[in-house]
């Protein structure tokens, strides 16, 4: 079974049939009230206790803030995750998910993944979430596919796991496809566009690429 990478995180939508979508599974298993008020709060409280006993006050201050944040975030995180997964574009939801992710990473000692506060799970968590996967696919630069493939010992395929509704363009076809693609973007049949290569060359290609990015309803979220 194909394994879709962690990034871009947090993803929208649900897991496609016939695939293991690591991003979706991580989002739905970790960014939850149960996780925050259970394992995360417990681990942070224990770390805070150790820091206080050891008089490591700078560390204690960070942990104290994190422990306190688990209460309001527990109340907010489930609605925020569901709204984000549905495709809502609310920055407050994203802020809630980001803070929740940073607390979970702090509690578990996970490093951040990519840009932003999103977690890189340890190998054990990756293995648990990826059960049944036999080959890792790429989605784009910085998607974590190589890291996951290496951690799990899976082959990394050159095939790309493109999100549904994404069109990929290049200098070779942007002018030819512009009109039809713009129409599909305006109608919402295609949601975002990506560029393969360094970027459009020449005035007409740059104008076409700018138009398509502007018309794409989910371009900002995709980028």
């Amino acid at each position: 079974m194909k394994l879709l990478p962690l990034g871009p995180f947090p993803p929208r939508g649900s897991e496609p049939q016939g695939c293991v979508d690591l991003g979706v599974r991580l989002r739905d298993s970790l960014l939850t009230a149960a996780e925050l008020r259970g394992p995360t709060r417990g681990a942070l409280a224990a770390q805070l206790q150790a820091a206080v006993k050891g008089e490591r006050w700078a560390e204690a201050a960070v942990l104290l803030e994190a422990v306190l944040d688990t209460w309001p975030l527990s109340a907010l995180v489930d609605p925020a995750r569901k709204a984000w997964a549905r495709g809502a574009r609310d920055a407050t939801d994203l802020a809630v998910l980001a803070r929740a992710a940073s607390l979970i990473s702090l509690a578990r000692g996970w490093a951040p993944f990519g840009r932003g506060p999103w977690p890189t799970p340890d190998t054990e968590t990756l293995r648990r979430l990826s059960q049944g996967a036999s080959v890792a696919l790429r989605r784009g630069p910085g998607d974590g596919a190589a890291l996951v493939a290496e951690a799990l010992g899976l082959p990394l395929s050159d095939d790309e796991a493109l999100p549904e509704g994404l069109a990929v363009l290049s200098d070779a076809d942007v002018l030819e496809r512009r009109d039809a693609l713009a129409r599909a973007l305006v109608a919402g049949r295609v949601r975002a566009v990506a560029w393969r290569g360094e970027g459009p060359t020449g005035a007409e290609a740059q104008l076409a690429w700018g138009e398509l990015q502007m018309e794409a309803p989910d371009q900002e979220a995709f980028e």
Partner: protein, 264 residues
């Protein structure tokens, strides 16, 4: 049949937007109209019709290989395609009046005429109406209206017998940020040298500009022509050049009259 409408939103505050334009904006989201505009248009819509999404056209000014004339032609073709090929009701929102120094609108009007497509223009208050409030233009000897670029770099020579309003003193100094004044002195010094060919060094000129968001007060400063390039000006500043021997009031700086009180 789908429609293409250009809407002038006036040069400054929402209060300058016409009732016709405001009514169109307020009903646009419900009617499924697709709107396009730059920062000023988005600001006006955010205040008058916040439910309407305005697609940002700012990217047109950032393309490395696309000169301005080509960008404006590209925009006109884009709006035509959207309205008349994709069947979308399109609003193109512009600052000021659509008919004053707006190359994209000009291309659009000509394209629509050539192709027999209907185009609606909703007029807006022009920047000229606003900036003239700090001078006393009599109209007795006419008015010359040019861009500063025309005089400084295109070799256009003003008549010294009529006042002139030279607009967009610093348009080419930066990427369209209306309050950017960092590189305007280059244009000003070229302009000063051209004007000194026909006018004396101590000829009074008046720089007319805006305070920008949120009040858009009409600001002005009077100075002798020889000092024109001594200090920078915002991109969309204008220069008032009285006639050499015209009506005396045209040389005077008028006080603020925007109703906001005090000295602007």
């Amino acid at each position: 049949m789908s429609s293409l409408t250009v809407v002038g939103l006036g040069p400054a505050r929402p209060g300058h937007v016409t009732r016709e334009a405001e009514a169109l904006l307020r009903g646009a989201a419900e009617r499924g109209l697709r709107a396009y505009g730059l920062a000023h248009a988005r600001e006006m819509v955010a205040q008058l019709a916040p439910e309407l999404e305005v697609r940002a056209l700012d990217w047109l000014y950032t393309l490395p290989d696309v000169p301005r004339p080509l960008a404006y032609q590209g925009l006109a073709r884009l709006l035509m395609r959207r309205a008349f090929e994709d069947g979308v009701d399109v609003l193109y929102l512009v600052a000021g009046s659509p008919l004053y120094i707006n190359d994209a609108v000009l291309y659009l009007r000509r394209l629509c005429a050539e192709q027999g497509k209907p185009l609606r223009l909703v007029h807006g208050l022009s920047f000229v109406d606003l900036v003239l409030d700090r001078v006393y233009w009599t109209g007795h000897v006419g008015l010359q209206l040019y861009s500063a670029w025309n005089v400084a770099r295109d070799g256009l020579r003003l008549s010294p017998h009529a006042p002139a309003l030279l607009c967009q003193l610093g348009e080419f100094s930066a990427g369209g940020e209306a309050l950017d004044d960092q590189r305007s002195t280059g244009m000003l010094s070229e302009l000063r040298d051209r004007l000194l060919m026909d006018l004396p060094e101590d000829h009074p000129v008046i720089i007319l500009y805006s305070s920008g968001r949120p009040d858009y007060r009409s600001l002005a400063r009077s100075l002798p022509l020889h000092a024109l390039a001594d200090a920078p000006v915002p991109v969309y500043a204008n220069l008032w050049v009285p006639a050499k021997q015209g009506p005396p009031p045209e040389r005077e700086l008028a006080p603020p009259s925007d109703g906001l009180g005090g000295e602007a």
